[in-house]
Symmetry: C2
Subunit: 190 residues, 2 copies
């Protein structure tokens, strides 16, 4: 594979991720090619169709997020820090694109990644069973849904950088609220 071809392939992946996070939806083939500074023909020489490209981007993000999660588990001892680092890593890698491209939760795709992702998440939860630094009712679903919520772009015309800044700040508050020591009280109906 020629060097320029490899570089262009990467440009297509990056441009796609950017556009998805900026516009909060699936970009058109033309938009991706333009953002990458390439012709449409080049896009279709690297990927058989638009969906393949989108899938590749989503997979790439997922892979890096899971790899980070595995590393975090191996090096971080306290459950609260591990959860915090994992969720920040997901946002930094642009986990939002996975949700925008595969809005349904039926990830029958990626059976391999799914197993690894489940391992990471259950480890995070089980670790909290011992040190109990976070609320004890914290579940895998809580982490998944929160990761989706904070990873999704707000789609109000912000740049990906501004958007991420807001997301990180909000995520930290959410994690504060997850601490077992938080003066939480059961809220009844308003």
């Amino acid at each position: 594979m020629r060097a320029d071809a490899r570089q262009n392939r990467q440009r297509l992946l990056d441009a796609t991720a950017e556009l998805v996070l900026e516009a909060g939806g699936e970009p058109t083939s033309d938009a991706i090619a333009e953002r990458a500074g390439l012709g449409i023909g080049t896009l279709y020489r690297h990927f058989p169709d638009r969906q393949s490209l989108l899938h590749a981007v989503a997979r790439h993000v997922l892979e890096r997020t899971i790899a980070d999660g595995e590393a975090i588990i191996a090096t971080t001892t306290t459950s609260d820090e591990a959860v915090r680092r994992y969720m920040h890593a997901a946002i930094d890698h642009g986990i939002g694109v996975v949700n925008m491209i595969h809005p349904l939760l039926d990830d029958a795709d990626w059976p391999d990644l799914r197993a690894r992702a489940e391992a990471v998440l259950t480890t995070l939860i089980e670790r909290n069973r011992y040190d109990r630094l976070l609320r004890e009712d914290l579940s895998v679903g809580d982490i998944v849904f929160a990761t989706i919520r904070f990873g999704r772009p707000l789609a109000i015309g912000l740049s990906p950088a501004e958007d991420r800044e807001i997301a990180r700040r909000q995520l930290d508050r959410y994690l504060d609220g997850l601490l077992a020591a938080t003066p939480y009280r059961e809220h009844t109906a308003p």
Copy 2:
């Protein structure tokens, strides 16, 4: 105006809000009519075009949310409870549709509503200056962005009811993290 016409108009508004929250985007005219159990012709007799209908739905949601906010301010004394009730009211009224229909924050539309909304928000913040039940760096922007974040549908194939259930739970954790008494610590780079 004939009674059935008025009822059908309301059905169109309700169906639109439902679809926006379910699919996380602007529904087609056909989809709206079908969901409302009406013909497309009826839609266009009540609204000159699709955008007018969408605008009307967004305005309706905003109006009810702001009215609730004004009532909450008049009856709730503590700042943390007032903020909590306001944000839950926004979610319950489906504030997410406003963001899906007007993704950009330049609400040059609704100058009237904007003034009232600003009054509600600044009052909430100013009240916290006195009782300091929430973090003192809490800003109007924090409330706005959080309302958008938690009001937006997750768009992963959940029903609006399930979606709202998750949003409410997550919002309560976020609000817990906003309490001044939370054992928050400054997070440094990972």
